[in-house]
């Protein structure tokens, strides 16, 4: 796959990135927000929730999956199975994969968080319409695709027909300039944007990110940004493909790209300009990811933590683990704090092993787990007891998200979670840099 500039899919009026991609998926030249499009799907992803796709798929009566080569199964919530219920879900998926000839199955030993698997194996490429049975499928929009979460019954229809209806979303344009200060990261930026857009500010909408700050981000950072567009209610969050995208996908793209860029005269429903010069580390306080404040507002209050989680599809890639280990080196986890580190995929696990990061985390008193969703969703491990407090690099802090309904979750950058692990309370990561 050679790097190439934006391929012109000609349209009459100015169109946003999402509009262009959905026009192509619908076999149309031009679409407008509100229009219903029957979109042809380029990639369909299922995780454990896909087990609930199997019965409706059979009931619908299609003899076979529309295109086995465009279906990826990646189990991640309970890996290896931690309950009998999870074991049954896994078995349903394995049997279905066998029966339907679905060979792109990332099973135990080759596993990872579903979105990370799609990202690191090049399953989603510029211009794609990708759908997955998980709400954070939005993350893949970072390659310049429309990637959206759907439920399992809808996935059954996709597996049957290779298409689904979508209402073309209006697009919200977030333009970012300025540079990150020390101890401030892409996570802080997306938290700040969430604080402004709020959890309902982009419901049914697409979000397009651009500007010099976004262009300078690595792919890992772009994934973090697009991942949390889900928390704003967005159908998809995306970044137009550029040299960084093509370099990332050059060796791994699994199918041909159809890259598009937004038109200069594209119509955006709302434009938000953000300058990050001087931006501080941010935190989302309980019980909503949009309850965002500068971290320094809380540090003087000595918010004690019982658990710290460095993991999830938002922030558990190798750069996140490296930064965490860099901060932790030479320190110990505070007494009484449980520090859980869970890499986003098996390949990241191996990288962390090779680079000595696992040693750094465990020597300091942390626990480095196998790759999975881990403590992120309160159904597998690292579950919080009533009244407990957790500092987490994940993406949600709703009541009951990680266990007890009154447990409190503070969402932070990986660096700030590690600072909290060292101090035993919310702390400024810049003190350790």
């Amino acid at each position: 796959m050679s790097a190439q500039g934006p391929n012109a899919i000609r349209a009459d009026g100015g169109q946003t990135l999402a509009e262009k991609i959905l026009a192509r998926a619908g076999g149309l030249d031009h679409v407008v927000p509100g229009q219903i499009v029957e979109g042809r799907v380029d990639l369909a992803m299922m995780h454990e929730q896909g087990a609930q796709t199997v019965a409706p798929f059979h009931e619908m009566g299609a003899p076979r999956v529309w295109d086995p080569d465009r279906v990826v199964i990646a189990i991640d919530h309970w890996v290896p199975a931690s309950t009998e219920g999870a074991a049954v879900l896994h078995r349903i998926l394995r049997q279905f994969a066998k029966e339907q000839g679905l060979t792109h199955f990332y099973d135990v030993g080759n596993h990872g968080i579903c979105h990370q698997i799609l990202a690191e194996h090049g399953w989603v490429v510029p211009g794609d319409l990708a759908v997955g049975t998980d709400s954070h499928t939005n993350m893949l929009g970072a390659v310049g695709a429309v990637a959206a979460g759907i439920g399992p019954t809808e996935m059954a229809a996709v597996l049957s027909l290779g298409r689904l209806w979508l209402r073309v979303p209006p697009t919200l344009h977030v333009r970012v300039r300025g540079s990150f200060g020390k101890g401030v990261y892409a996570k802080d930026l997306i938290l700040r944007i969430l604080g402004e857009v709020k959890t309902t500010g982009a419901t049914y909408k697409a979000i397009e990110f651009s500007g010099p700050t976004i262009s300078a981000l690595t792919m890992s950072e772009r994934f973090t940004i697009c991942n949390m567009t889900t928390e704003m209610g967005a159908k998809c969050g995306m970044i137009a493909p550029d040299a960084t995208t093509y370099a990332f996908l050059e060796k791994i793209a699994k199918h041909p790209m159809h890259p598009v860029s937004p038109d200069k005269d594209a119509h955006y429903e709302r434009i938000i300009d953000i300058d990050i010069d001087g931006m501080e580390p941010m935190v989302a306080c309980p019980y909503s990811p949009d309850n965002v404040r500068p971290l320094m507002d809380l540090v003087p209050k000595h918010v004690k933590v019982d658990q710290v989680f460095l993991g999830s599809c938002t922030n558990a890639r190798i750069d996140d683990l490296r930064e965490g280990a860099r901060i932790l080196k030479g320190h110990k986890v505070a007494p009484g704090v449980r520090f859980i580190v869970s890499p986003a995929s098996t390949s990241i696990y191996k990288q962390a092993l090779d680079e000595g990061l696992i040693e750094t985390f465990t020597e300091a008193g942390g626990v480095f787990t196998n790759s999975s969703c881990s403590a992120c969703f309160g159904g597998n491990m690292g579950i919080l007891a009533p009244g407990e407090v957790c500092a987490s690099s994940s993406n949600r802090n709703f009541p009951g998200r990680m266990g007890a309904k009154d447990a409190e979750i503070y969402l932070l950058s990986p660096a700030a979670t590690v600072a909290a692990a060292i101090r035993g309370e919310l702390a400024d990561p810049r003190e350790f840099l």
Partner: protein, 173 residues
């Protein structure tokens, strides 16, 4: 789908996310009859034991935000909920609820005209929700034709089944 739906009302606040509808610990449960025992365990604990088929759920803004788990509407379907009405919905929850065949209506302003135990009357095509106790009502833009069709078929499974039966084929790439 009935043209006019009437039922006893349960009210929910704003921002009831999917963790509050079916929490993470039940995600390995796929039997809807088991799931229904735990629905709204965090948001409205008395609901599961006391809800009857035909009851109507009236929520505030951003109903069903959070995960893509279909467990949430599946459990409500198993209870036999007559309809879900809210000031606004999170997008995946909305699609899932319609796909499993529950009449789901976005009617801004609806939450504040209801109290728990009221009777609601929903005119699906007329685009009106009325509180039969107080007489107050709000109107809403009726669902687009293809969604009404989907509900009329009884949900997405039935709809795709009919399409395949009628010779629908896979779109060529």
């Amino acid at each position: 789908m009935r043209e006019v739906i009437e039922g006893r009302v349960w009210t929910l606040p704003d921002d009831v996310d999917t963790d509050q509808i079916i929490s993470g610990k039940y995600l390995t449960v796929i039997d809807p009859n088991e799931l229904k025992k735990h629905v709204f365990e965090i948001a409205l604990p008395e609901f599961a034991a006391n809800a009857h088929p035909g009851d109507i759920v009236v929520a505030g803004v951003n109903m069903g935000s959070g995960s893509s788990r279909e467990h949430a509407p599946q459990a409500l379907k198993a209870i036999g909920v007559g309809a879900i009405v809210a000031d606004s919905f999170a997008r995946i929850f909305f699609r899932n609820a319609i796909n499993v065949g529950i009449p789901t209506v976005e009617a801004p302003g609806v939450r504040k005209i209801f109290e728990k135990g009221d009777t609601a009357r929903i005119e699906m095509r007329g685009g009106r929700v009325q509180n039969l106790r107080t007489g107050d009502s709000v109107s809403f833009p009726p669902l687009p034709a293809h969604l009404l069709e989907l509900l009329e078929a009884g949900g997405l499974v039935e709809k795709v089944k009919r399409e395949l039966h009628a010779g629908a084929t896979v779109s060529p790439r």
